[in-house]
């Protein structure tokens, strides 16, 4: 994963996890709640992300999520994770468009 200390100006950090009940991917958004759409993820600076990660990890079990970790993404609506793996987690498997989670930003096509 790209190092958080080397973010470019158009990048931010998202927090992601898996939902306990069904294993679905979730993104941490407003008020520290978890959403299943990357568009609802809160874009954080590297500095903000450290504290947010600590808080989210501490609350994970109570909120029914597991495996919280940070992801580098390009800012936008929706934000676009930079690694292919996280891109697939955010938008769905590339071989099954019928299972996609959300419209991808034009830049990603």
């Amino acid at each position: 994963m790209k190092r958080l200390s080397h973010l470019s100006p158009d990048e931010c950090v998202l927090l992601t996890a898996a939902r306990l009940l069904d294993g679905r991917i979730v993104w941490r958004g407003q008020d520290g709640r978890w959403f299943d759409r990357v568009a609802q993820a809160t874009c954080l600076t590297a500095e903000e992300s450290a504290a947010a990660l600590e808080e989210a990890t501490a609350q994970a079990a109570r909120q029914g999520v597991m495996g919280v970790y940070p992801v580098v993404a390009r800012k936008g609506a929706p934000p676009q994770p930079v690694s292919m793996k996280e891109h697939i987690r955010a938008f769905g498997p590339t071989v099954h468009p019928e299972f996609s989670y959300a419209p991808q930003p034009e830049a990603s096509s």
Binding site: A18, M84, G92, V95
Partner: protein, 556 residues
């Protein structure tokens, strides 16, 4: 209930055991969902029941012992796909099936549904003895020396919940064949067994320490002729040596192949013999009576070929060239002259290798009931075999497959691509494999072109764990990650079977499109320069990789 053809018929105690196991797991799931168990505590428990946490959801891997299914079981898998997943399943290179979109809360109900058809997910994960794989033509092939399925079942029963071997240093894979042509990649397994008959009962040639993954190794012969009576004792002793001396401090050095490579085959063999000398062999003796008791739980197909089956088949082939092409590539000689073994390709050009929709599963179950004694075999090359089809009925079978979009005439040809799920679904992967498989499948999808190219295996893995067996492909492709981008290494010259060898890396990794173009140039070069009747693999063996490397990288 009538006994199923081709696999062991459960007894009531088998079913009771499954119900007890499901009840135990159901309680564990409840405790996980309530928070009483942490993920760290729960993970080994769910893995023991075949449940992984993958990229998008929980994944359930269902065991298909020695690859044999009956139509009732396939219908149950279709039901699971439809009710609990997204309408499809993925057949794997270990003769299992995976469902990629499972909810944890549904897992106990799924396992109960599977148990109704005598299926489960036990030992499809974890550091234990995994599903025993076998020859997809078992009990049907003309060249077979001995049907290996009864012994595969004996090994399944021996290894299931074996108290000593539940926490091995790493996972352990066993394959067994009874054919002179090794169709199970015996030399690429932790233990590979080749069975043959003798005047004094079955004998087993035992290979040990083979495997792919991070450190690909061709297995070595441990014993040439283990008598049936000593089979279980020999395996028990081999596993004990591995369990005692296999490394547990390094995940990547923990497989038995590393132990055998480190100490050498001779010292390993001596260690197994020493262990055998300490054992009470009578406890492990596989008597003819015990074997017969297991064999009695298998039903054999009642073959009744019609006299003019060959003539009817020849007429159908003459009338329909597409059917003739399918017969040429997708059937194999049966021991009964009036029958054929038919392979259903799960590699329709442009589709995902190994994926089958619920509708196709139900359709295949119908076809198996109509033409093949309700029996189906999942292959380690991600296809389905119908073991006993009357030759005069092949045409009707093929027409049924066409309706299911499963009639691709490409078995053993360029379109018969083996691929792992790759980064689209697997958390371990570094790169996607399925889009590349689809592109190559489409590029070489033309049946005439595949026929012209001839025998060619293409294997794709999305990471070094090699679930797509890329080292064993005539053309292997390994997905790698370079600073967050996907690249693909090409290997040439790998093969499983009697002359097992590991493919050699051709050169630097390429982008997806460049890799497809490079493979096209490699195949073009072969077509332009091959000797008469020379296969792709033979040409690679004759010339080495240099000329292929030159054409592969000529425009990069």
């Amino acid at each position: 209930m009538k006994q199923p053809v081709g696999h062991y018929a459960y007894e009531s105690r088998d079913r009771e055991f499954l119900q007890e196991r499901i009840a135990e797991f159901e309680d564990q799931v409840k405790r996980r969902l309530s928070g009483a168990l942490s993920e760290e505590e729960f993970k080994p428990l769910r893995l023991m029941n075949g449940i992984y946490l993958q990229v998008h959801a929980y994944m359930l891997r269902v065991a298909i012992p020695y690859g044999i299914l009956d139509s009732r079981q396939l219908r149950k898998l279709a039901h699971v796909a439809q009710r609990y997943d997204r309408g499809y399943g993925h057949f794997t290179t270990r003769q299992n099936i995976q469902f990629n979109w499972i909810a944890l809360e549904d897992a106990p109900a799924i396992l109960r549904d599977l148990a109704e058809a005598d299926m489960h997910a036990i030992q499809t994960s974890g550091n234990c003895i995994r599903n025993i794989t076998s020859d997809e033509y078992a009990g049907a092939a003309r060249d077979e020396l001995m049907d290996p399925r009864v012994h595969a079942e004996i090994l399944r029963q021996w290894s299931t919940l074996h108290p000593e071997f539940t926490f091995l240093p790493r996972k352990f894979k066993i394959a067994i064949s009874g054919s002179p042509e090794d169709r199970v990649a015996a030399r690429f397994h932790d233990i590979g067994l080749l069975a043959r008959p003798s005047e004094n009962g079955p004998l087993f040639r035992v290979f040990v320490g083979g495997g792919l993954g991070r450190t690909p190794v061709v297995g070595q012969e441990l014993f040439d002729s283990v008598p049936e009576a000593e089979l279980l004792a020999t395996l028990e002793a081999t596993l004990r040596v591995y369990n005692a001396y296999g490394r547990r401090d390094n995940l990547y050095r923990a497989r038995i192949k590393i132990l055998v490579q480190t100490i050498g085959i001779e010292p390993f063999r001596e260690a197994v013999k020493a262990e055998l000398a300490k054992m009470d062999l009578s406890h492990y003796r596989l008597t003819p009576e015990r074997v017969a008791a297991i064999r009695a739980r298998f039903a054999a197909p009642e073959l009744h070929a019609v006299d003019d089956a060959d003539a009817v088949l020849a007429q159908h082939q003459k009338e329909d060239p597409d059917f003739a092409r399918w017969v040429q590539s997708n059937t194999h000689p049966h021991f009964d002259e009036g029958y054929s073994i038919a392979t259903v390709s799960l590699k329709t050009p442009g589709d995902i290798p190994g994926d089958v929709t619920a509708e196709q599963m139900d359709g295949l179950a119908d076809i198996a009931e109509r033409f093949a004694f309700s029996e189906l075999r999942v292959t380690h090359l991600q296809n389905i075999v119908l073991g006993h089809v009357r030759k005069d009925q092949l045409y009707a079978l093929w027409q049924g497959l066409k309706e299911l979009n499963l009639a691709a005439p490409n078995i053993g040809l360029a379109g018969d691509i083996v691929s792992c799920p790759g980064l689209d679904y697997c958390t371990l992967a570094n790169a996607r494999s399925l889009p590349l498989a689809r592109k190559l499948g489409a590029r070489f999808g033309d049946a005439r072109l595949q026929e012209e190219i001839g025998a060619l295996s293409i294997n794709i893995s999305g990471c070094i764990n090699a679930c797509g067996h890329h080292h064993a492909g005539h053309i292997g492709i390994l997905g790698v990650d370079k600073r967050g981008s996907e690249f693909y290494q090409i290997l040439l010259g790998g093969q499983a079977g009697d002359h097992a060898s590991i493919g050699a890396i051709l050169g630097p990794a390429l982008s997806e499109d460049d890799a497809v173009a490079a493979i096209a140039r490699i195949i073009d070069h072969y077509l332009a320069h091959r000797n008469e009747q020379e296969s792709f693999l033979e040409m690679v063996t004759r010339l080495g990789k240099a000329p292929f490397k030159e054409v592969a990288y000529e425009t990069v």
